[in-house]
């Protein structure tokens, strides 16, 4: 039985958040709306205490809440049945609290942006090797909550591999301090791992302690052409088996190359090494590729190339993330053609992809949708069939972004099968009244 929602009274919120601008009721549609819907209010807490009070009040009144950073991911993996009364933005909690270069960690409020963090770390010759899609204005809390990462995960791992500790205000307003400041820490069950990829369904992440890395001395990108004789997946496969650790091996579709003004680039390989080692790694790669010619980018040029690569999927109408073993990527790239039917007949470049080969990630970007009368039914069927195709080969398909009506039909993750009960159980642990996870995409309808 569901509890009855009480009408949202913003005067109650203003008592908790008394500073002007902390409670936003009338805002531009494009700022905090999603799928043309607007929450009743957007809140900007300044402290953990304020968040605890807001979530307690939301529990008492049964208001649905959504944690956010700067609002980049509001439509990401959204279950469209979900009503949201309040968005709790962490953007005003944006202080870097402690940076201990000797201990290679930083403690920060979740509203700190990745860009702000990297600028702070640079004088100490340290960085956080994460490259989530989009501009670096994403907040750290959002990057962790959405487990958002890019090409660098090949060499450095996923966001969860960089989190040492976190503070979470759970859906029922409890404060949990998880993990710590040290890389090795096996005290108790690792609830910290659950935060990464939780999409805010367990609570609001307010603080993070992140593991840092020394900035590499040399940054080099090798750009290889791909064609019939040297297909991208074959090249990537050969390069992956270079006896060295490579930070990224990315395959670009023709449409993407055009967009990046890098038409001859089929495969981009990034090497982050010491000055003394970078030439040797390049030589090893060239040995694997039978000395295939390539273009070399160094330092800021190398960095800029991958920066532009990670910004490619931000404006697409549909963004699909496929996760699979590298060896089946070749098949799947051929099978992407099936999704061409979603694109208007006369549109070129409506279907693009970017693959991070060794990580087994294939991002499919679809634009210029064919929005005719039969579009929805056909597209939903095509996507579902494609998801089945991916799953039959052992992979998974996540619909990261899509028009609301399509998301409603296809759902972001598809069936969770036997682990659905576990996922639903975990949501209830952290959010017993389901103010954050109601109608979650992880659960079947009650």
């Amino acid at each position: 039985m569901t509890r009855k929602e009480k009408t949202l009274d913003t005067s109650l919120l203003r008592e908790i958040l008394p500073v002007k601008g902390q409670v936003l009721e009338h805002f531009g549609e494009t700022d905090w709306s999603f799928f043309s819907r607007q929450p009743r209010a957007v809140l900007f807490p300044h402290s953990q205490e304020e968040i605890t009070s807001v979530l307690s009040l939301a529990n008492e009144n049964n208001w649905n809440c959504m944690p956010a950073g700067n609002g980049t991911w509001l439509e990401g993996c959204m279950n469209t049945d979900r009503e949201v009364n309040l968005i709790v933005s962490m953007s005003k909690m944006n202080n870097i609290l402690v940076h201990e270069p000797d201990n290679l960690f930083v403690e920060l409020e979740a509203g700190v942006t990745l860009e702000q963090l990297q600028v702070t770390l640079r004088p100490s010759k340290q960085w956080l090797p994460l490259d989530p899609p989009g501009k670096n204005s994403s907040t750290m809390g959002a990057i962790i909550a959405t487990s958002s990462c890019g090409a660098l995960q090949t060499g450095f791992g996923r966001p969860r591999d960089h989190v040492l500790g976190a503070t979470l205000i759970t859906g029922d307003g409890k404060t949990l301090k998880l993990g710590g400041k040290t890389v090795k820490n096996v005290a108790g069950f690792d609830l910290l791992k659950l935060l990464s990829g939780s999409w805010g369904r367990f609570g609001v992440i307010t603080k993070l302690i992140m593991r840092l890395h020394p900035l590499p001395e040399a940054d080099r990108t090798l750009l290889f052409s791909s064609n019939q004789a040297h297909p991208g997946t074959s090249l990537a496969h050969d390069i992956m088996h270079t006896p060295a650790t490579l930070q990224s091996i990315s395959i670009l579709s023709p449409g993407l190359r055009e967009e990046l003004d890098s038409e001859n680039t089929g495969v981009a390989v990034r090497i982050l090494e010491s000055e003394a080692a970078v030439d040797k790694v390049e030589a090893l790669i060239l040995e694997r590729t039978d000395l295939l010619p390539c273009k070399r980018l160094n330092g800021s040029e190398s960095e800029a190339f991958f920066e532009s690569l990670k910004n490619t999927d931000t404006d697409s109408d549909v963004v699909i993330r496929i996760k699979c073993l590298p060896s089946i990527m070749k098949n799947l790239i051929h099978q992407i053609e099936a999704l061409q039917s979603l694109v208007a007949d006369d549109s070129l470049g409506g279907l693009k992809f970017l693959a991070h080969y060794e990580s087994g990630i294939l991002l499919v970007l679809i634009d210029k949708l064919k929005l005719d009368d039969d579009w929805l039914a056909q597209s939903a069927e095509t996507l579902q069939e494609f998801r089945d195709t991916v799953e039959q080969q052992g992979g998974s398909l996540t619909l990261l972004f899509a028009p609301e009506i399509l998301l409603k039909e296809v759902t972001p993750w598809g069936s969770l099968g036997e682990v659905e009960t576990i996922c639903a159980g975990l949501e209830k642990v952290f959010d017993p009244n389901q103010i954050l996870s109601r109608s979650s995409a992880h659960r079947s309808a009650e």
Binding site: C77, E100, D102, L104, F105, K125, Q126, G157, R160, D161, T170, K174, T175, K177, G180, K181, T182, V183, K184, N185, V186, A187, G188, F189, D190, L191, K193, L194, S196, G197, S198, H213, P214, L215, M240, H241, A244, T245, E273, S274, A276, A277, D279, K280, K323, C324, L325, P326, S327, G360, G394, G395, S396, W413, V419, I422, C423, G425, L426, H442
Partner: protein, 464 residues
């Protein structure tokens, strides 16, 4: 002593074969403790299945009869995680020791939980690959045990701990349900169920198949041994090396007491017997990049007061430099009948002051404490030497352990870096977590194990 009901023993034997259900007291004695011998208890029985379906059927039978289950790998754990009450049944994974798939193309392997850690790297070696987490017991400990404990090892400084390498699991819950978490590179939903299962110390279920990521073997390795008169100086060298942005594969310290124990044993590695600390520094990667890093590390050691710095030119020399570190625990048996291997972690820069205070604690309780530890990630292993038959000494060991834990937590660290909480450290959990955190942990356990039949009495204090 409790005994297993005859009909239940018969049914278990029907599932796994009569040889693989142990109920004789003599045979059960081998299972009365794990690597932490301070706690001992003889289980009701030991069952040794060989497949996921056998585990599932055994669990169904035991859960239907309300008998609790303790998973066990090789029994090398150091926190009493595999200690079973007299009413519990141990499920041993020693027969589940097959590498099911070695997929060099995708740099992954699928193994049964009883596969020995080092055997996996040996099997991957012909493909130029290896499995990175390398606990000191890697020649004996199992991958399943590593999953349960989220094990580390010397080279985790650069490469990270077990959770970074486990990409999929087949698990069996107490009720016998078989669940597939992750695997084959896929993500089913966004929650990291593999991540939360790793390190759950057998309290959520048992892993019966483990998919892991393999890494390319580094092209070259260079190892240094620096000798110091004072352990604080070795700690300072570690801080200097890390502060300049170097990332060695390993940074390990052994103290004077340990050096002397090793040098007096068959494991002698040629360390100066009068040294008070030895620092092992290892770099790996592309050969051309290592020379400069090694020179910088040598300079940091010298500037921190090293009396001698040796480097290894050959693989044999490298093994010898590691001897004092890797054989430390074995050598301790020469100087005491019992050894409590403690495990705590502090931020790296706190090492010198924490080491001094541990020495003071040892003096105060009149206990010999030898330190062997992963200095690069601040993971201390103070080894307390004692005689279990001396009840007064045993009491002092417990008091000293508690003080060491409190000291490490006060320095910004935690109560265990890689051995787990198990039975030994559950009373220390309130040092690092509040009631709400521990309640949340218990609720998460309940999601996986609603009847609390898995590894009872571990990790969380009884009053949570």
């Amino acid at each position: 002593m409790e005994s297993l009901p005859k009909n239940l023993a018969r049914d278990l034997k029907n599932i796994v074969g009569s040889k693989w259900v142990l109920t004789d007291r003599d045979r059960l004695l081998a299972y009365e403790s794990d690597g932490l011998t301070a706690y001992r208890s003889i289980p009701l029985a030991v069952v040794l299945p060989e497949s996921t379906s056998q585990v599932s059927n055994v669990f169904k039978l035991l859960s239907q009869n309300g008998i609790k289950v303790v998973p066990r790998g090789a029994g090398t754990g150091l926190s009493g995680g595999a200690l079973a009450e007299p009413t519990s049944v141990i499920i041993g994974t020693s027969r589940m020791n097959t590498i099911l798939e070695l997929d060099a193309d995708n740099r992954r392997a699928v193994v049964q939980p009883g596969v020995i850690n080092a055997h996996l790297s040996e099997a991957a070696s012909p493909f130029g690959l290896y499995y990175a987490p390398d606990p000191a017991s890697q020649s004996a400990c199992t991958i399943g045990g590593n999953v349960a404990e989220n094990s580390g090892g010397p080279h985790c400084l650069k490469y990270g701990v077990t959770s970074r390498y486990v990409t999929g699991l087949t698990i069996v819950t107490y009720e016998g349900q078989i669940l597939q978490l992750g695997g084959l590179g896929r993500e089913r939903g966004s929650y990291d169920l593999v991540g939360v299962f790793v390190g759950s110390e057998g309290c959520f279920g048992i892993a019966t198949e483990v998919e892991v990521k393999l890494l390319p073997k580094p092209e070259a390795v260079q190892t240094l041994l620096a000798i110091f008169d004072r352990i604080e100086d070795a700690g300072r060298a570690v801080t200097s090396i890390m502060a300049r942005g170097l990332l060695p594969a390993a940074l390990e310290i052994v103290d004077g007491a340990t050096i002397r124990a090793v040098e007096a044993s068959v494991f002698a590695g040629g360390y100066p017997a009068d040294a008070n600390a030895a620092l092992v520094v290892e770099f790996d990667g592309i050969e051309e990049g290592l020379g400069a890093d090694v020179q910088k590390a040598v300079s940091d050691c010298n500037n921190s007061g090293a009396t001698e710095v040796r480097s290894a030119a050959t693989s044999e020399e490298r093994q010898k430099l590691w001897q004092g570190r890797k054989k430390a625990f074995g050598a301790m048996g020469r100087i005491a009948t019992d050894l409590l291997v403690q495990d705590a972690t502090v931020p790296r820069s706190k090492l010198p002051e924490v080491l001094l205070k541990i020495s003071e604690i040892g003096d105060r309780y009149d206990l010999n404490i030898a330190n062997v530890f992963h200095a690069g990630d601040g993971n201390l292993h103070p080894n307390i030497l004692f005689d279990r038959s001396d009840s007064e000494e045993l009491r002092k060991v417990e008091l000293a352990s508690t003080e060491i834990m409190k000291l490490c937590v006060a320095a910004g660290g935690t109560i265990t870096g890689e051995h787990g909480v198990g039975h030994d450290k559950k009373s220390y959990m309130p040092l690092v977590y509040g009631i709400e955190e521990m309640k949340a942990m218990k609720k998460v356990k309940t999601v996986f194990d609603p009847h609390h039949g898995m590894n009872p009495g571990k990790v969380l204090p009884a009053d949570i």
